[in-house]
Assembly symmetry: C2
Homo-oligomer: 257 residues x 2
């Protein structure tokens, strides 16, 4: 039974892509057959794994608009057991097309993923920074959600709107949707603000917060420019250990699913 | 003649809101009558100035959807000479409504700003992290653009798509649209990656890059939780000086406009 995980937060720059890429690579390196789906027109998850998205004949856009079969989209990455469905700016056109197509609308991604999920143990989907139609498709197309939260004020402020939107989708369209966990990212333990935000999040969300915390680290922001996940870019650094710990925690939480 | 400036970048978390809020406050403190327009459903520019957006009767959504006159939207902020048109999650509905209204479409914001700009020296608009219909409205509603770029890989990678989109709007709809400047944000001079990105940006964009550089600083990320621009939160800190320098540079560049 394939487990489908969406990585989402409408706040920009909180570490969605960094989490999606390194978790997908972590699962693949643990021997799980994994598909990473890029649903962000910026295509950062694709380029973060060194995929030249302009050279790919079929991106997620072609599958969403029906001009190719979903089976033709996955491309192999440089990591064993990890495949990617890339995205690029073509995906912006899908926003308009999906909004005007009342039949497909929010379930377009779910309809793409169901025929192609079987060979994979995990499907990880990177969402864009918004609550628009592309993110709605992610919320309708997966059963588990990881919400990265940067330990700062604006990301904390916006969390209640995101949680309401998730509840709305769960009631209306996708009753199996659950929050697998809230992930604290870019944490700089030396700052008072980070400690205050972490305290606030643990108070409100308790066990739903992953024990693994991702600290701020330059190595993590360097890895994408080499097209590599952190485990292959710098196998011994602290960020690699943190993402391996996150991978194990995700596997443990999914065992219970 | 009112100068209208949009702060935009489809990459998330690069400092759009931080720049829009502190530039608007900087202009106001220099004695310029300034209107800050929040065009992001997250409403961070509104809350960053302590505006309780749920209590505002009219946000930018009501003006865009025509349920109130634009004159009824601006609210005074805690900074003299600075008014704000707030935004909140209601703005998400505008995305669908504008896409389905072929007449208004991309010029809805321009039609709101023209009748209300006269009393202001500057209008500063904070855009959301996307290239969708709300950002399209910002590009059609202003004449000058500031593009904050975080000194990291993903923000650098996405810049060419943004510049193409801006060129497209300039040719098709808004011939007066110009890039006032590219602003380097969250620069941590100690890291090699930041130095490499800064070098790359200066090589490609030369004079279009503001001389003022905004360094990474915790004080800047603390200010929004107090609802204050950095000049009022910590008047003597380095970030205050940097944003005052940015304000002076913007004024000098606008003199030539
Ligand atoms: N723990 C970390 N330490 C340092 N830098 C980080 C960390 N996590 C992510 N980054 C960097 O911060 C920036 C934002 O991260 P990322 O792009 O993953 O966020 P995002 O939420 O996917 O952004 P968007 O909203 O644009 O999709 C990137 O340049 C990334 O390399
Ligand atoms: N120079 C800086 N130093 C440290 N933190 C900063 C700096 N500039 C912005 N921040 C913080 O980084 C986060 C992202 O900044 P901000 O919200 O302004 O970006 P944005 O581009 O508006 O994001 P979005 O794409 O979600 O609209 C915020 O928590 C902000 O307080
Ligand atoms: Mg991303
Ligand atoms: Mg913002």
């Amino acid at each position: 039974m394939t487990i489908r995980i969406g990585v989402t937060n409408n706040k920009g720059g909180v570490g969605k892509t960094t989490t999606a890429v390194n978790l997908a690579a972590g699962l693949a390196l643990e021997g799980k057959r994994t598909l990473l789906v890029d649903m962000d027109p910026q295509g950062n998850a694709s380029s973060g794994l060194g995929i030249a998205k302009e050279e790919c004949e079929n991106s997620i856009y072609e599958a969403l608009s029906g001009t190719c079969s979903p089976h033709e989209c996955p491309v192999a990455s440089s990591v064993a057991n990890l495949w990617v469905i890339p995205a690029d700016v073509r995906l912006i056109a899908a926003e308009r097309e999906l909004l005007q197509d009342d039949a497909k609308h929010e379930r377009a991604l779910a309809e793409i993923l169901s025929p192609i999920s079987a060979p994979f143990d995990f499907v990880v989907v990177d969402a864009p920074p918004s609550l628009g139609i592309l993110t709605l498709n992610v919320l309708c197309g997966v059963e588990q959600l990881i919400i990265p939260v940067q330990s700062e004020y604006f990301p904390l402020e916006g969390l209640s709107v995101l949680l309401e939107a998730i509840e709305g989708v769960k009631e209306r369209v996708n009753p199996r949707l659950e929050i697998l966990g809230i992930l604290l990212t870019m944490v700089d333990g030396r700052t008072l603000l980070a400690r205050q935000v972490v305290e606030e999040i643990l108070k409100h969300f308790g066990d739903r917060v992953f024990r693994t915390v991702i600290s701020r680290s330059v190595r993590l922001s360097e890895a994408p420019s080499h097209g590599l996940p952190i485990m292959l870019y710098d196998p011994r650094c602290q960020s690699t250990q943190a993402h391996q710990a996150l991978t194990r925690e995700v596997l443990a939480r999914c065992d219970g699913v």
